[in-house]
Structure formats: structure tokens, C-alpha cells
């Protein structure tokens, strides 16, 4: 398959239909998306597909899929991704996670260290920040998206003045996110679990992150025993949206170390 091409399929993962976009050649890579309707195949996947066989699934409840009752927190989703790896026949991929996907990638690497060869945390949620994150659930869609990236179409998701369908799609993604982090927007067990992660880890952050400022990245890298974070100038919270090339370069750098 050539560069820029990808295939979309829906894989049955122990009864849960999981839409997955895959493409590229190289070592396997699992990409765990963040919030803001960022689950489809995007520029960052194309960039990564130059060096990796990229698999980008949609988390249960996101992208218009059903939010199952069994999702009660990140631990459930992490075990779901063990099942996803089995369904895809992936033994030990590099796992890249952005924002809430970073939190999830951490849980997967901590719960099943034998299944993760490298861990990349991009603007990751999960580690308790020194000062509380802004609450995006209480903000209207356009304002919430503004915290994530300036490049998302914020006006479209205004339920009163924008596109009602786009607003509803975002609201449903936020619902799936609410199930995971409404009652506690971080993982109180992070520090206790961190030593379970055996995979080499990289932290990538946006210099202009409005949700979690970059000094949080320094702490996170320290907690994870990772090198100092790669802080991307001009990028906001969703670095894969704002600076996909920088993300691909940093991930490829890590892959060199593993190989």
C-alpha cells in the first residue's frame, strides 16, 4: 500500500464493533486518539505511515459508535485495547496516545507491559496536574474546541448557530469522554502504576497548550523516567492536529531506539 493510502474496516472485538483505519509499512503502531472529533485518518497518520504500519481505532462511544455499559473507566478501555491488539494480531506495537488517548496508552502499558514496545504520550491527560485543568464539559462546543487547537472548525459545533449535526457529533464524543473522566479528570493511581511501564517512553507537548501548560510535560516525563519532553513551538493541546510532522519525527526517533 502506498504512502497516503489507508483502509477502513470494522473489526469485531469480543462483541464490540471497532472502526479502524490502517495504513503504511514498517513496525506496528497503535494510535489512540484524543477528543474533539479527532478520530478519523488525518495528516499525522499519513506522516507516521511513512515509517510504521499504523492502526488507528475509534474508542467505544466515539465517532458515532455505541457507548457500551462495560465502559466505566480507563482500566476497562485499556483491557479492551489488549483485545484489539489480539484481534489485529499485533504482539508489541509502539503505542501513541494523544490527550485522553495518552492516558489510555499509559494504562495499557502499565496493565500489560508485555504488549507495548514503546510509549508516546502527546499532551496526555491522566497525571494529576499541579493546578486543575479547565472544565471543558461546562463550556459550549466552540469554546471547548478552542482549548484543544485553533485549527479545528469551532464555529460549526455551536449547537445554537452552527451545524446541529456537527454539534451533536461532538456532544456524543464528549459523552464518551464524560464516562471516563467526568467524576475525576485524572488518574489517582498514576504515580503508583508508573513503574509497571517497561516500554521506553517519550513525551510530546504543545508549547501553547492551554489545557495543560508545558511544565506539566516536564513533570510527566520525570515521573515516567523519560527524556525531557519534546515541546513543539506554535502547537496547542492537540499537537497531532497542529504539528503532525513534528510528532512523526519524535515518534520515529523513539522507534530507532527500540530497534
Amino acid at each position: 500500500m502506498g504512502i497516503g493510502e489507508h483502509r477502513s474496516s470494522t473489526v469485531d472485538v469480543r462483541g464490540t464493533p471497532v472502526p479502524i483505519a490502517s495504513g503504511g509499512d514498517g513496525p506496528p503502531l497503535l494510535f489512540l486518539h484524543g477528543e474533539g472529533n479527532t478520530w478519523p485518518w488525518r495528516a499525522v497518520h499519513d506522516e507516521l505511515a511513512h515509517h510504521f504500519e499504523v492502526h488507528a481505532p475509534v474508542h467505544p462511544g466515539f465517532g458515532g459508535t455505541h457507548l457500551p455499559e462495560w465502559v466505566t473507566g480507563m482500566a476497562d478501555l485499556a483491557y479492551h485495547y489488549v483485545d484489539v491488539l489480539d484481534a489485529l494480531g499485533l504482539d508489541r506495537p509502539v503505542v501513541v496516545g494523544e490527550s485522553l488517548g495518552g492516558w489510555l496508552a499509559f494504562r495499557l502499558a502499565a496493565q500489560r507491559p508485555d504488549r507495548v514496545s514503546g510509549l508516546v504520550l502527546i499532551g496526555s491527560l491522566g497525571l494529576q496536574p499541579a493546578t486543575p485543568m479547565p472544565d471543558l464539559f461546562i463550556k459550549a462546543g466552540p469554546e471547548a474546541l478552542g482549548y484543544l487547537s485553533d485549527r479545528l472548525d469551532a464555529r460549526a459545533v455551536d449547537p445554537l448557530q452552527g451545524d446541529a449535526e456537527a454539534a451533536t457529533d461532538l456532544w456524543l464524543d464528549q459523552a464518551a469522554q464524560a464516562r471516563l473522566m467526568w467524576e475525576r479528570p485524572y488518574d489517582p493511581t498514576w504515580l503508583r502504576l508508573a513503574h509497571h511501564v517497561r516500554a521506553p517512553t517519550r513525551v510530546i507537548w504543545g508549547a501553547a497548550d492551554r489545557l495543560l501548560p508545558p511544565d506539566h510535560a516536564t513533570r510527566l516525563a520525570d515521573v515516567m523516567g523519560a527524556p525531557p519532553p519534546t515541546v513543539v513551538a506554535g502547537a496547542g493541546h492537540l499537537v497531532t492536529v497542529d504539528a503532525p510532522t513534528d510528532v512523526a519525527a519524535a515518534v520515529t526517533d523513539l522507534a530507532g531506539e527500540i530497534a
Partner: protein, 392 residues
């Protein structure tokens, strides 16, 4: 016709620029704006209005539950109901309702409502609500499981009232090794259940299934009729019965004066206060992510656009019950007939309307409207007495 006295107990001193400065009078409106000395005076006035409703012959007085807001100052409806047990003699006490989906321990509701029912001589009407979306922000509760928690909490509470304990409850959200509530309710098999609703399909179907009376508040007549028609068609098509007027409530603002213009002028600033300061509920607060299913949210977006275009919610569906006693009486009967509703939930106090104005309108209503309404004699509670006696 059943006549219920409805009250929100609002805070009457909300910042005129609440929308611009704080975004909402709910959840984030700082409680430094609340003055407890003034609050004490207000609670007593509001309770006086509710006990006066009992004295002039209302069938029920209503309390309700809202959290961390200036719209309604009854975070614990059961505390307010307890205050009314000894302040009222004959009227039922309608808790509209306990937010059972918001309780981490819903068995507490089974206990408290049973206490109230026993203490009041069986005068309690037990409303159950999910709580509006804002409550999920205020209480830090995941809105995505709210509906399922509501159904399970309801099933648990009704079973706790009707099945001899101890028994074990093993549900998705709640687990109790011993369900065995003391006291049991006086009203058998249990206090009547009432469902205030925002008209979602899921709630209409569920209430129709259980034959629970239901009331939607602050919606225009056309939408109200559509909601109630939906309930009636669930009843007849899925559950095999015809839902009668006793299963529907009709909520309306009422103000009576000696002429219509005077009545309108008297009410207008307080309605404006309600819309511009109490009901400042942006959509993400009112309907947080996952609070309903996708279909209900799409309908809600449409409604929010209509409400924004029309300048606010509707306090009086149908012909306004604001005018002379004759006008109010005639329109009231006509509105209930049009909605197919048998219970009027009459709201006399609105926004920052002061006590004297409320009492004058209630007195006029008692003298000139109430005696002419088509009503049954007031029913006594299950004990045939008033329970704990009011102070002489």
C-alpha cells in the same frame, strides 16, 4: 380537578448582569451572592405562602430539588417537606421530586419519604426526577448513566416500600446486602408517585408504562400537547389502556387582580426577572454530554433554538392565567381541557415577586376563583388524620 400549589423558592436578588458576568445563575454563580440573613426571612415567607395554600384549600403543596443555584433554594426537598408536615393540616405534600438518580445512596430516599409519609398521616406524594443537567455539574456525577441510575433507584425504592425486608438488592449501580427500611410508608402500597419531566421520549414511555401522573413545566401549549399525546399513545398502543386527565399536570403562572391590565403590569417585571436572571442555563449546563440519547439531544437543540428565538421559556402555556378572577377561572378550565390535564400546578410566586403581592393574589384567588372550580372535596391522608398537628 386537582389543585397543587407550586413554588420554586427563588433567590430574588440575582445580579442583573448575571449572564454577562458569570454565564449562569446555576453551578458557577458564586454563593457569596447569597445573604443568609435575607435567606432566613425568605424561607419563612415562602413557607407561609405554602401553608396559606393549605388553609385556602389547595389539594397539595409542592417542593422540589435543585442544587447550587439561585433559581430554586431547595437542595433538599425532604427538609422542606418536613417543615411543611407541621405547617399544613390537610393538603398533601408533593415532593416534585427527589432526584433519585443523583443519590449515591438512593435507599436514603426510601427512608426519608417513608418518614414523611408516616409523620404526615399519609399525605405525601412522592415525585421522582433525574435532576436537570445542571445538577450533574454541581454534584460531580457522570451524566451518561443518569437515566439508568434513575430507573434502578426507582425500582429499588418501590421494592423497599412494598416487599418485606430484609432482602438483597443486586443491581448495576447499587448493591445492598440488606434492604429493610424502617419506617415503612403509611400509604399502602406506597405513596403515590408523580413524574415531573422535560418530555423526553424515554421518560414519557416509562411513566406511561407505570401509569404515573406526569407534568412538563415551562413549555408552550403546542409542545405540551405533543408530549402528552405521546404519553397517551404509549399508554394505548404499548400498555393497553387509555390515559385519563388524572395522569397529566398543567403548570402555570397565576396572578389575579381586579383588572387585567393591572394584573399584567404587576407580574411583568417578575417574569422578566425569572427569564433574564433565574433561567440563565446555557445548553452545556442544561444538557451536559450524555444526559440524554442522541435523538433527544437533537430535539433539544431544536427547542433551544426556538427558545432563544422567542426570548425565553414559557411560564404560562395556553391563555395566560393573569387577569381578573373571571378571566383566570375561565381560562384555567379551558387550558386544562385543551391539555387534557386534570391537575393544575399553580405558581403564584415568580422570580423576585414580593410576599405581599403573592398573598394578595392568593387571597383573591381563594375568594373569587377557587370556590367555582370543578373540584372534588379534599381527600384525607391514608391515616384519615393530619399526622403531626400544626401549631395552634
Amino acid at each position: 380537578m386537582q389543585l397543587y400549589f407550586f413554588h420554586l423558592m427563588p433567590w430574588p436578588h440575582i445580579d442583573p448582569e448575571v449572564r454577562e458576568k458569570y454565564g449562569s445563575s446555576w453551578v458557577v454563580y458564586p454563593n457569596s451572592e447569597y445573604d443568609p440573613v435575607e435567606g432566613s426571612r425568605l424561607y419563612n415567607q415562602y413557607l407561609d405562602q405554602l401553608s396559606f395554600a393549605d388553609q385556602i384549600g389547595f389539594d397539595a403543596v409542592c417542593v422540589n430539588e435543585h442544587h447550587q443555584n439561585a433559581y430554586g433554594l431547595m437542595p433538599s426537598p425532604n427538609i422542606m417537606a418536613a417543615a411543611l408536615v407541621s405547617r399544613t393540616k390537610q393538603a398533601r405534600i408533593a415532593i416534585l421530586g427527589n432526584g433519585v438518580a443523583m443519590r449515591r445512596n438512593p435507599l436514603r430516599v426510601a427512608e426519608e419519604v417513608a418518614m414523611l409519609d408516616v409523620m404526615s398521616g399519609g399525605r405525601v406524594i412522592s415525585g421522582f426526577v433525574r435532576g436537570i443537567g445542571a445538577e450533574y455539574h454541581s454534584l460531580g456525577l457522570d451524566p451518561t448513566t443518569s437515566r439508568d441510575r434513575f430507573f434502578e433507584a426507582h425500582d429499588l425504592i418501590v421494592k423497599a416500600w412494598t416487599t418485606p425486608g430484609p432482602f438483597e438488592w443486586d443491581g448495576r449501580f447499587f448493591h445492598y446486602r440488606y434492604v429493610n427500611v424502617w419506617p415503612r410508608p403509611l400509604t399502602q402500597p406506597h405513596p403515590p408517585i408523580f413524574v415531573p419531566s422535560q418530555g423526553s421520549d424515554e421518560t414519557l414511555e416509562w411513566a406511561a408504562q407505570h401509569r404515573y401522573p406526569l407534568a412538563c413545566t415551562f413549555v408552550p401549549m403546542e409542545r405540551l400537547k405533543a408530549f402528552y399525546d405521546r404519553y397517551r399513545s404509549f399508554a394505548s398502543e404499548q400498555f393497553g389502556y387509555d390515559a385519563g386527565p388524572e395522569q397529566f399536570g398543567f403548570t402555570s403562572l397565576i396572578h389575579v387582580d381586579t383588572d387585567e391590565k393591572k394584573a399584567q403590569a404587576a407580574v411583568e417585571p417578575h417574569v422578566r426577572y425569572f427569564i433574564e436572571r433565574c433561567f440563565v442555563l446555557p445548553l452545556p449546563i442544561f444538557f451536559p454530554p450524555g444526559y440524554t440519547d442522541a435523538g433527544s439531544y437533537r430535539r433539544r437543540v431544536t427547542i433551544a433554538r426556538e427558545v432563544a428565538a422567542s426570548g425565553g421559556p414559557t411560564l404560562n402555556a395556553g391563555a395566560p392565567l393573569i387577569g381578573t378572577p373571571e378571566q383566570v377561572g375561565e381560562r384555567l378550565v379551558a387550558n386544562l381541557a385543551e391539555a387534557g390535564a386534570g391537575t393544575l400546578l399553580a405558581q403564584f410566586q415568580v422570580g423576585d415577586m414580593p410576599h405581599d403581592k403573592v398573598m394578595r393574589s392568593m387571597e383573591l384567588f381563594a375568594d373569587k376563583v377557587l370556590p367555582y372550580l370543578p373540584r372534588e372535596p379534599r381527600a384525607a391522608g391514608a391515616a384519615g388524620s393530619a399526622g403531626i398537628s400544626p401549631p395552634a
